[in-house]
């Protein structure tokens, strides 16, 4: 396939000008597991110019039920490295930066600095809250996603919104995923919604989930958007 045909099917969802502009954007994905694997896949295929993939963890057998990058050849390998290797095969036109570090208070600012937007694909509330604070301080928009069992949530947070503080104010309260685990289908759906949010923020489209949370209930097959008031 000729190189020029790569983005043909992005038309007319994106205009040609919008599609070209994607090359100039830098997106940082924190966590390369259930959500992050799919997020990176979709960002790379659509043509985001630079993707930073952050994860200290290695694939293990418990990841195989849902994490797109976990397979029998990647067990024991670092998730950030594997995600970048895969996307290099899919789209060699983009820049991929693997970061093999645990996102924390010490490296967090350095990792997100210079990105146009950050994607929360983390698996714990403490680090999600930290990411929310650092993105707000650095004035970088953040697309949050979280999953547990049949359920998931997505929202987009701009500096000063403090949505993450609302979602995770009680650090002693474990998420429902601790009881329910995570099946194969919920991460793919929530990741897709996160990537759609990333695209709208970068392209300055309307309909962004700001001060609104999408709640996904795949058991009852219901999608609710809940407005947040201050």
């Amino acid at each position: 396939m000729a190189r020029t045909d790569r983005y043909t099917r992005n038309m007319n969802t994106l205009s040609q000008e919008e599609n070209r502009s994607l090359k100039s954007f830098k997106v940082c994905v924190i966590g390369c597991g259930g959500l992050g694997g799919y997020v990176i896949e979709m960002l790379g295929r659509i043509g985001i110019g630079s993707i930073t993939a952050v994860d200290y963890d290695k694939f293990d057998e418990t990841n195989l039920n849902r994490q797109i990058l976990a397979n029998t050849t990647t067990l024991g390998r670092n998730k950030a490295i594997v995600s970048c290797e895969r996307m290099k095969k899919v789209n060699p036109e983009i820049t991929l930066n693997p970061v093999e570090e645990r996102f924390d208070n010490y490296n967090g600012n350095r990792i997100i600095l210079g990105n146009d937007i950050v994607v929360d694909a983390l698996d714990n509330s403490d680090t999600k809250r930290l990411l929310g604070r650092l993105c707000s301080e650095q004035k970088i928009p953040l697309v949050h996603g979280a999953i547990g069992g049949w359920y998931g949530q997505v929202t987009t947070i701009f500096p000063g919104d403090e949505t993450m503080e609302l979602l995770y104010k009680d650090s002693n309260n474990p998420g429902i995923e601790k009881q329910l685990g995570n099946p194969s289908f919920t991460p793919a759906l929530v990741a897709a919604a996160q990537v759609a949010e990333v695209m709208k923020v970068l392209l300055k489209r309307e309909g962004v989930l700001r001060n609104r949370i999408l709640y996904v209930d795949l058991l009852n097959m219901e999608f609710d958007v809940v407005e947040l008031k201050k």
Partner: protein
């Protein structure tokens, strides 16, 4: 005597074994805790309590036609 009617919307795991939505008829001086008790939801399990879209504590008093949404924490990734 019924003094106020409140709409309660439950999300995620709170729907299991319960309805998704209730219209509750409550006496005057009811607060969010009254509703959680009626629905057998522990206060500590409800990480977000949106009363007419605003988050806050469970001691907030209810008035007629209020809409309460109750969410458990979801943190997986």
């Amino acid at each position: 005597m019924i003094d106020l009617k409140v709409e309660v919307r439950l999300f995620a795991t709170f729907r299991e074994g319960r309805e998704k939505k209730y219209i509750l008829e409550l006496p005057e001086e009811s607060n969010i805790l009254t509703v959680l008790d009626m629905l057998k939801i522990k206060e500590e399990d409800a990480s977000i309590l949106l009363l007419n879209g605003r988050d806050g504590d469970a001691k907030r008093m209810l008035k007629d036609a209020d809409v309460l949404a109750v969410f458990p924490p979801v943190g997986g990734g």
